[in-house]
């Protein structure tokens, strides 16, 4: 390879491409040509370390070229052009809303919103994906995914204290037989590895894993998705960071080794048989806990001016980002190593875990070192930020990188991507009724995308820090499916009198995305907001994160899905008044199976949402509380079975996607929020996968109570069938148990809005829906309570 490197600038495109593949940079032809042009201009050949730095800095993972690049979208004859898709959709919604409680958006490692009314705290929130590593090495991939997103929270501003982890996974179906290609892991193994990785890392570091989801679909067979999120509290006067010229570059936490070479560039490649597991890092939670404990103490003493985490690209990205304006002088021989057989350029780009980079004034190093020593946390001083705008990296006498920062962070060439709308044929015929309603409900409850997640949830310590008020498992027996996590961050505020908290919930609807990516985005944001509402949060202050996962963006249909989903995000965020504060995307989630068949994932958008809970004592749970209380269905049920679980177990032939009426939903939720604040609501649960029947069953068996119901008064769209009403998944609906004696007041709040009493909670443990079914709640629960792992 050294031979090619010595004549890099004059290599013809074919040889350049071969070199790129051999080195694992994942740079495009256009980018390689730009590098040649730049170095020819400088009158010299690039070194290996420089090319590695450029590959990391320009990688899809670090620069998000696809999403923030130009796109031309075609829907038949209609054409829409975007110069920067991300800015013109996601960012635009946030700019349009311009909420003053958004303290930091899109610029730092996580978004930050105001927390509680004291004015002292901000809430930092971030979600990431770690898909490619988990496909190759599920346990290590999941561990380092969790570790990475926690470091984003530690590295936001001057450091936030993590108080909640979230995780959402997508795997191939466990109940199907697949013919897998060589090297591909079966979904059971991927799932087991991922769950154990999240468990062992999250539990050891002492952050509750209390929100998320599990989703099974053929599309994720070869490309599992692993979304990991973290939320933390930060004092508002610690949000600003600024490297001061003359500051020392201090690396704390883990040592550097050969694990995770090329993780950033690897995320821009399709996974194939040659993919190497050495691209996956090795996690060590205890090292990160040490760094966490040190950072919280040092932050409050003001011992550093800036901090960021070593994530993708390792030192090259972290030091490169911190020194983007000042430049950086790095001496790689100072790095603490866990493997001495490492090349200098490998030290520079290694993604070894649990490392944080601090910018430390010379006069404060001694104090910082004392804290590091007292917590047994290793560190090394690697150089300084000089202020000359130059990146100079050496190893002894060897010059590894010598470039102006402007080159790295400036000219990434970008090119226009074509996008087209997928052709989907819709059918909206009336779906037939099932032979037996009760049996259909039981089949839905047992479906892998609906059944109980307790066997996974109970492996996570979801209550460490003592603040998980809204639990993932709730109700009379502590086993009902909660809609949102409600966190009371007592371990961060240290103030037991302050009863304010926050809720976190998700929305995810890839089955709708296969049919209509625009509606998928709307449904997902609606679901996330509705889940927050069910927990009693103040949804007028909802902030959201977008995490897009898609197949190869070289396929114009995939780009079309992305454009439509991004447009949906923009429209729904504005309609719901919920700004995006951070996000991430992951592409190239596409692989071939043993028969050469392509397995692209469906467009997958995870919406993570958070909103304040004014008084955690008043958080609401899903289970029925009291016999005799009236049960209400709020929100109109619409026609269409598209994307429903029911269609999967018994295809109705109707694949129409119910179009969300966002204005109506926003009005309804605002009224419900008032009724809930007034204390009229004893329980609330959203209608989502499986439809209304599943929602009612879950509320009943989680509370050990039955219900006597009649759906005749349920608000509905024209021509709605009972199948659509009970098993359709039209959005913007929730079921509420109202406190007996307060019906009038409740109705007052909902005057003129689509909501109707559909019956009463009953002491007899049976769920009866007039004319449709009459089932014992124990039987329903038995179908639902499956051991997934």
């Amino acid at each position: 390879m050294n031979d090619e490197l010595s004549k890099f600038n004059s290599l013809p495109p074919k040889e350049l491409e071969a070199l790129d593949r051999a080195a694992g940079w994942s740079l495009s032809a256009l980018e390689l040509a730009e590098v040649q042009r730049q170095f020819s201009g400088m009158g010299r050949q690039p070194g290996r370390g420089e090319l590695e730095t450029i590959a990391q800095t320009w990688s899809e993972h670090c620069k998000h070229k696809t999403f923030s690049g130009p796109v031309v979208f075609r829907d038949g004859k209609r054409v829409r052009k975007y110069k920067n898709l991300f800015k013109e959709t996601i960012v635009k919604a946030t700019r349009t809303l311009n909420r003053k409680w958004c303290l930091s958006v899109f610029t730092d490692n996580a978004g930050i919103v105001e927390f509680a009314k004291s004015g002292k705290w901000g809430l930092a929130f971030k979600a990431e994906t770690h898909n490619h590593p988990c496909a190759v090495e599920p346990y290590g991939g999941a561990e380092t995914g969790v570790g990475g997103v926690i470091r984003d929270i530690l590295g936001v501003g001057l450091g936030a204290k993590p108080v909640l982890n979230t995780d959402t996974f997508c795997f191939g179906r466990l109940d199907r037989k697949y013919r897998l290609p060589k090297n591909a892991l079966p979904p059971e193994r991927v799932m087991r590895g991922v769950v154990e990785g999240v468990r062992d890392y999250g539990n050891r570091i002492g952050i509750p894993t209390a929100a998320g989801g599990l989703y099974f679909d053929d599309g994720y067979l070869l490309n599992p998705l692993v979304y990991v999120g973290c939320a933390g509290l930060i004092p508002v006067d610690k949000i600003e960071k600024k490297v001061v010229p003359g500051d020392l570059i201090v690396s704390i936490g883990g040592r550097t080794g050969r694990d995770g070479i090329h993780g950033a560039t690897f995320s821009s490649a399709n996974i194939d048989e040659e993919t190497s597991a050495s691209a996956v890092q090795i996690g060590h939670a205890v090292n990160e806990k040490k760094a966490l404990d040190v950072l919280m103490r040092a932050r409050d003493l003001g011992l550093y001016n800036a901090v960021t985490d070593c994530g993708a690209g390792g030192f090259s990205s972290a030091i490169g980002e911190l020194g983007a304006e000042t430049g950086a002088r790095v001496r790689l021989e100072k790095a603490l190593l866990k493997d001495t057989r490492i090349e200098p350029w490998e030290i520079w780009v290694s993604e070894s875990q649990e490392r944080m980079i601090l910018s430390v004034p010379k006069g404060k190093l001694k104090k910082l070192a004392a804290i590091l020593d007292s917590e047994n946390c290793e560190y090394c001083v690697m150089g300084e930020f000089p202020g000359d705008g130059r990146l100079l990296v050496t190893h002894g006498e060897e010059r590894v990188v010598d470039l102006p920062m402007a080159f790295l962070h400036g000219g990434v060439p970008n090119f226009e991507k074509p996008a087209v709308k997928r052709a989907v044929k819709f059918n909206s015929k009336a779906p037939a009724a099932p032979k037996a309603w009760g049996r259909a409900l039981k089949a839905l409850l047992a479906h892998p995308n609906i059944c109980s997640r307790h066997s996974v949830i109970t492996q996570y310590d979801h209550e460490v820090q003592g603040g998980t008020v809204g639990k993932p498992l709730q109700g009379k027996y502590g086993d009902g499916p909660g809609d949102a996590a409600v966190i009371w961050p007592q371990a961060a505020t240290l103030d037991l009198k302050d009863l304010s908290g926050f809720a976190v919930a998700h929305g995810f609807a890839p089955a709708v995305g296969r049919l209509d990516p625009y509606q998928m985005a709307l449904h997902s944001i609606d679901e996330a907001v509705r889940n927050l509402l069910c927990s009693g949060a103040d949804i007028s202050r909802t902030a959201i994160l977008d995490n897009f996962c898609a197949a190869s963006p070289r396929d114009p249909r995939v780009m079309g899905d992305l454009v439509l989903a991004a447009e949906g995000c923009r429209d729904a965020a504005i309609a719901y008044g919920a700004p995006f504060i951070s996000g991430k995307d992951s592409f190239y989630n596409q692989s071939k199976d043993a028969d050469g068949r392509e397995y692209p994932i469906p467009i997958s958008l995870l919406i993570s949402a958070t909103a304040p809970v004014e008084d955690v004592r008043r958080a609401v749970t899903i289970n029925f509380k009291q016999a005799g209380n009236p049960v209400y269905l709020a929100g109109a049920s619409l026609r269409g079975m598209g994307g429903s679980v029911y269609n999967e177990i018994s295809d109705t032939g109707n694949n129409a996607v119910p179009a969300l009426d966002m204005k109506a939903a926003v009005k309804l939720y605002a009224a419900l929020a008032k009724a809930m604040k007034a204390g009229c609501v004893a329980a609330a649960h959203d209608v989502s996968q499986g439809g209304l029947g599943v929602t009612l069953a879950e509320m009943a068996f989680s509370g050990g109570l039955g219900a006597e119901l009649d759906l005749a008064p349920a608000p509905r769209g024209k021509g709605l069938t009972s199948t659509e009403l009970l098993f359709g998944e039209s959005p913007a609906r929730l079921v509420l148990e109202v406190v007996k004696g307060r019906e009038r007041e409740f109705q007052g709040y909902l005057k003129g809005l689509p909501a109707a009493e559909i019956g009463r909670v009953s002491g007899e443990p049976r769920l009866r829906v007039a004319g449709l079914f009459d089932e014992d709640i124990a039987g329903l629960k038995a179908c639902w309570r499956k051991e997934l792992i």
Binding site: E196, R199, N203, R204, I205, G206, A285, V286, K289, K290, D293, S374, E375, N376, I457, T458, Q459, Y460, D461, H462, E463, V464, Q465, G466, G467, T468, V469, K471, L473, Q474, G475, K476, Y477, G478, W488, Q490, A491, L494, L496, G536, V616, R617, R618, A619, V620, T621, N623, K625, G679, V681, A682, A683
Partner: protein, 247 residues
């Protein structure tokens, strides 16, 4: 009047230190978070405190076995600890703290401070976090469980919580004196005789796997009506008892 001084011992990856600190503060103690390194360096001294707590977590990653490394670190100060624990000042070890007390040989108490029991990997083979019903042994000398109802509910969160002792003699030494202060109503981990927590014969040192600091306030319970109940839940009693005992 100043409250009793409570030392909340921590080390690397002690994770429940802050909520334990908060709990002691709420019941009127003056808690202080102290790293084992500070004790070993002589910056803080064990005899200066009135109450001692070993909080939950994964001290030193649970490497070798849960609580073992912390116990080894304590060995250098074993005299101070023995004097404190056997001298009758209240000591509570929760989850990883219980594991530490067992690995040091302070619980079950014996003359030689030898380890006669262990907390082994749960029968299910992995970590579990869930709420469990517990029976309170009313005949136990334990000072922490005084005044509790016959049955209480607390969450557990551990991978190594199966309490086993060397032989029948040691087991008899526990049951014969009612040192098993808490037992599980439905055994979640395979512990002998469903034991969830044991105390010293004087009742002043308690080790337990469940987390009383996580059911300290009523709103921490998964089964909760929307309207708030009385603020304090059963876990509160454990901490209050310790403070009352020394006040």
């Amino acid at each position: 009047m100043k409250g009793p001084k409570a030392i909340i011992l921590r080390g690397t990856a002690t994770n429940c230190d802050i909520e334990t600190f908060n709990a002691f503060k709420y019941v009127g103690a003056e808690p202080e978070l102290v790293h084992i390194n500070q004790l070993l360096a002589g910056e803080r001294k064990v005899p200066d405190y009135d109450i001692m707590a070993f909080p939950g977590g994964f001290s030193y990653g649970d490497d070798i076995s849960a609580g073992k490394i912390y116990a080894v670190k304590m060995a250098g100060l074993s005299r101070d600890f023995a004097k404190f624990i056997k001298g009758g000042r209240p000591v509570i070890g929760i989850c990883n703290g219980f594991q530490i007390l067992v690995k040091t040989g302070f619980l079950p108490e014996n003359g030689a401070n030898a380890q006669v029991s262990t907390l082994y990997t749960n029968d299910c083979g992995h970590f579990i976090a869930k709420w469990t019903k517990l029976k309170v042994n009313k005949k136990s000398p334990c000072i922490f469980t005084r005044g509790l109802p016959d049955e209480i509910e607390l969450p557990i969160a551990h991978g190594e919580g199966k309490f086993i002792v060397e032989d029948k003699k040691e087991l008899g030494a526990i049951t014969g004196r009612n040192l098993h202060a808490l037992t599980y109503a439905g055994n979640p981990n395979g512990s002998m005789l469903d034991i969830a927590g044991i105390c010293s014969p004087s009742g002043t040192c308690l080790g337990l796997m469940p987390h009383p600091e996580r059911n300290f306030f009523s709103w921490q319970n998964p089964d909760r009506p929307a309207a708030a109940r009385e603020a304090e839940a059963v876990g509160h009693q454990f901490f209050k008892n310790a403070v009352d005992y020394v006040s």
